[in-house]
């Protein structure tokens, strides 16, 4: 254990990112609640962000992505916010139409 | 404008399920033990149902087992914030049955005391209204002044809250020596202080936002529901029993110069002395009800000053109470007086014995409260205390 964590490297960040990604994917797959699915998406995006940050960090690698990593992460965050807004709007109008936010009920092509 | 506002508020982005909320009887702003069952959709109140009866003490039934003078302490406990006015209403009712002629001095004593009671009551109404809207300090400022009135009461009759001072026949005692001077000193000190309340409440921008255009009650509606007192006059109905009442009551105010506090042609009497009506305010809204009370306080000061002069120059006796076991003549009698919260009526049926066969009280707050349901429908949750507070109810009087 001490050997594995002796010095933190990019790989450790990637591992955490991978865990986030998998959790997020599973969330999207298993949740029946529309908001739960949305949370899964946020987790996935956050996992990707962790990778960007790790590759961009000068602490972890001398040959880092540099600023690009952080900027990418920044754009991901912004897009995640935009995505959340749209998804919420969809969830809302879904709720207005069906009086539920169970995505399994949304099996008809009608708003 | 008010209706436009209301429609705007009730447009919903998201329809959520209706929530049934129990406001009271243990709630900070239900003035005692009023219970309101609210149906809310988010912050919007869709239905209000007042439940009363938590303070019912069978006061009227007790009255049928006591002589009129013995029942006086029970009237204290009806509108416990204006006990003097309750005493006065019942005393006048009994005197009407007895055809009792009141000495001149007693008449002016009663006017002074009743109007002091009105000030004391309105001070609570005003302070508690501030509390309903979330400001604490005016409440304590109001109580500071009310304490001085209660001190005066204590000196006159020995009690502060439940006075039992005015009785059929006059009062339990004459005003003690030096009392009038103290009362005048109080008035001189109190009159400039009113500006503080206007600064903290009446003209405060947030206060105006919270009250103007909220809970608008038209004159027709006020009359239909049987509203009385400042609630009625706040809707612009020119009606005050001190001027329009029965002769038995109005003759008490003979010789006094006063105007009914009501907005006529867009103006209140002597309104140049007071903050102007804000443009947002609609006649009949919470702001106007509050403002009417504030102006009545000033008017009461004026009446008391006149009363003190009359009392000083009055000849004769201060009016001794009738004997405890005075036989009441057979018959029935009903008399309404203008109490701080509205018209308080007492009804008495006598079978000729010393104990009334039937006593009933007509409560002003009961009628005033009945408009809650209609006024609160469609308002926001925060408006409910604002509207109920502007009606200035006292549960002791409603439940009796």
């Amino acid at each position: 254990m001490t050997g594995l964590l002796a010095v933190i490297t990019v790989s450790h960040y990637l591992a955490v990112g991978a865990f986030f990604f998998v959790t997020g994917v599973l969330c999207m797959a298993t949740k029946r609640n529309a908001l739960g699915v949305l949370m899964g998406i946020e987790l996935v995006l956050n996992g990707a962000n962790l990778n960007f940050i790790a590759f961009g960090s000068k602490y972890l690698r001398s040959e880092s992505l540099g600023l690009d990593g952080q900027l990418m992460a920044l754009f991901v965050i912004i897009l995640a916010a935009a995505e959340a807004a749209v998804a919420l709007a969809i969830a809302l109008s879904f709720y207005n139409a069906h009086s539920t936010i169970d995505v399994d009920q949304g099996d008809e092509l009608k708003g | 404008m008010a209706t436009a506002n209301r429609e705007q508020i009730i447009e919903l982005d998201v329809r959520t399920d209706e929530l049934l909320v129990n406001m009271g009887p243990q709630h900070p702003s239900t003035h005692g033990v009023l219970r309101l069952v609210l149906k809310t959709d988010g912050e919007i109140v869709t239905h209000v149902e007042p439940h009363i009866g938590y303070l019912h003490r069978c006061a009227e039934k007790i009255g049928e087992n006591l002589t009129p003078r013995q029942w006086i302490p029970y009237t204290d406990r009806m509108d416990y914030l204006a006990a003097m006015n309750m005493n006065l209403g019942w005393s006048l009712c009994v005197e009407k049955l007895l055809q009792y002629e009141l000495p001149e001095k007693a008449r002016h004593l009663r006017v002074i005391i009743a109007e002091l009671g009105r000030i004391a009551s309105h001070l609570v109404g005003m302070g508690a209204y501030g509390l309903d809207l979330g400001t604490f300090s005016p409440f304590l400022y109001a109580f500071r002044e009310r304490e001085k009135i209660l001190n005066l009461f204590e000196e006159a009759c020995g009690a502060r809250l439940t006075n039992s001072y005015i009785t059929p026949g006059g009062a339990t005692a004459d005003l003690p020596p030096g009392w009038l001077e103290k009362c005048e000193a109080f008035l001189d000190q109190f009159e400039p202080v009113i500006a503080e309340y206007h600064a903290l409440l009446t003209t405060n921008a947030i206060f105006i936002q919270r009250t103007a255009g909220i809970g608008v009650m038209s004159a027709e509606m006020a009359i239909d529901y049987g509203c009385t007192g400042p609630v009625l006059r706040g809707s612009g109905v020119d009606h005050d029993l001190r001027r329009d009442g029965e002769e038995r009551y109005t003759e008490m105010y003979d010789g006094y110069a006063f105007e009914v506090i009501v907005q006529k042609d867009g103006h209140y009497p002597r309104d140049h002395d007071y903050p102007p009506v804000p443009p947002e305010a609609v006649l009949g809204d919470c702001w106007h009800r509050f403002y009417v009370r504030m102006l009545e306080v000033v008017q009461a000061i004026d009446i008391i000053r006149q009363g003190i002069e009359f009392y000083r120059s009055a000849e004769g006796d201060w009016g001794h109470p009738i004997k405890l076991n005075t036989k009441l003549p057979k018959g029935e009698v009903y008399l309404e007086t203008e109490c701080p919260r509205g018209q308080m009526g007492f009804y008495l049926v006598s079978d000729g014995s010393a104990i009334p066969w039937r006593t009933r009280a007509r409560s002003s707050c009961f009628c005033n409260l009945s408009v809650t349901e209609e006024l609160c429908r469609g308002c926001l949750l925060a408006d409910v205390p604002a509207i109920v507070g502007s009606l200035d109810i006292v549960m002791g009087e409603i439940d009796r």
């Binding site: - | 309903d132 926001l380 925060a382």
Partner: protein
């Protein structure tokens, strides 16, 4: 401090020790701050209302009153309603307290006296302060009481909308100073009080009041205390709480008040710099003199922050409460446009180099621009952290041309 310890022990231990000491000191600020402010609130409220307030506990001014209150709260039963979501209900007070404590981390008390010298301190502070609302929402939801739920929902709507103008107000000092580091922003306002950002131009003067309004709203104080509106919602989100958990909400509230006032002190009122530069020469002397100067600066800062809190207390005991729609309207109709207007105005003022009161003060500094924009000119000024990048940035702009 870490360097000092590192002389005697391994670096890892030294840094940990430093971190622990900083954390303990900041915890002291939370604790003592809450005790003091609760006492002050009661005392000030008493005086405002023509009362005395606490008079006996602990001597003449009742200054031990809040300690006594604390002991009383400790001994009270910790109740969780039957309908409550017990775990979340128990956690909510801590969730509320933690961000407000974390915000202290980035707040500098004097030049360099800061728990965590972070480059984006202003941003971090505003972000972390916004998190405090979570505890309130959780408390509202988990209590299983309708009143609490109302309080939590109100708080969420309110805080989310007030983040916007608050952020805009916070951005103005950042732009004027060219850095988000609060230490640097504070140092740039050294000199006479005319160099304070609030006196920089009319727009910064105006925006301070917008900031103050939004800060009051974001820390949930009257007249924006809708989440706990006692006349409507009984006690709002903390209706069902008792004992120590209840008091945690208040520690969080008072601490947040201190943080937003401290932020205002740094961003608008010169931070640890007094109105008159008395300690400037001491600071330059270094060594023990510098520590004395910093201590004076720290006292100065705390006095400014406390003044802000007192202003909030004063406002609370004077004004009625707004309604929820009016709160949101105040934010969207007044605060946001005003902040945006001031943003443009303040930046234009800086851009066109319009006069500022500081120009008329006989000071050793050449002019306000030299003080404000060391990075754009490639001079390091009193900043350390942004110096390197600034030089490169200056170079970059030349390359661009």
């Amino acid at each position: 401090m870490a360097e000092f310890f590192a002389q005697y022990m391994p670096a890892g231990v030294a840094y940990t020790l430093t971190a622990l000491i900083s954390a303990a000191l900041l915890l002291g600020v939370v604790g003592v701050g809450a005790l003091f402010f609760i006492w002050a609130e009661r005392k000030v409220a008493g005086r405002i209302q023509d009362r005395l307030g606490p008079t006996r506990t602990g001597g003449k001014f009742g200054w031990l009153q809040s300690l006594a209150d604390g002991i009383k709260l400790l001994t009270k039963e910790d109740i969780a309603p039957a309908d409550a979501d017990k775990t979340l209900f128990r956690l909510a007070p801590y969730v509320s307290l933690a961000p407000s404590y974390a915000a202290l981390l980035a707040l500098p008390f004097a030049d360099g006296w800061v728990g965590w010298e972070i480059n984006t301190a202003m941003f971090f502070l505003l972000a972390v302060l916004g998190l405090e609302v979570f505890g309130v929402i959780l408390a509202g939801y988990a209590s299983g009481s309708k009143w609490s739920l109302f309080g939590g929902m109100r708080q969420a709507a309110q805080v989310v909308s007030y983040e916007v103008p608050l952020g805009m107000c916070g951005v103005i000092p950042v732009f004027l100073c060219g850095t988000m580091s609060l230490t640097t922003i504070g140092n740039m306002q050294a000199g006479w009080f005319t160099n304070w950002l609030i006196f920089h131009d009319p727009f910064t003067f105006l925006v301070f009041w917008v900031y103050f309004t939004c800060a009051v709203a974001s820390v949930n104080r009257a007249p924006f205390d809708l989440a706990e509106a006692e006349s409507e919602l009984v006690a709002g989100f903390h209706t069902e709480y008792s004992g120590l958990r209840w008091s945690f909400f208040f520690m969080a509230e008072y601490n947040s008040m201190l943080v937003v006032s401290g932020l205002a002190a740094v961003a608008f009122f010169g931070g640890w710099n007094g109105p008159v530069p008395i300690f400037a020469s001491w600071k330059a002397a270094g060594g023990g003199w510098e520590i004395v100067a910093n201590l004076a600066g720290c006292i100065n800062f705390i006095m400014k922050a406390v003044l802000g809190v007192m202003l909030m207390i004063w406002v609370r005991w004077t004004l009625p409460r707004l309604r929820i729609d009016q709160v949101i309207t105040t934010c969207l109709k007044y605060c946001v446009p005003l902040a945006a207007f001031c943003f443009v105005g303040a930046l234009s003022w800086q851009l066109f180099d319009l006069p500022s009161p500081n120009d008329w003060v006989p000071a050793e500094r050449a002019g306000r621009a030299a003080v404000r924009e060391p990075w754009a000119r490639g001079t390091t000024g009193s900043t350390q952290s942004s110096a390197g990048t600034s030089a490169r940035l200056a170079q970059g702009s030349e390359v661009h041309r």
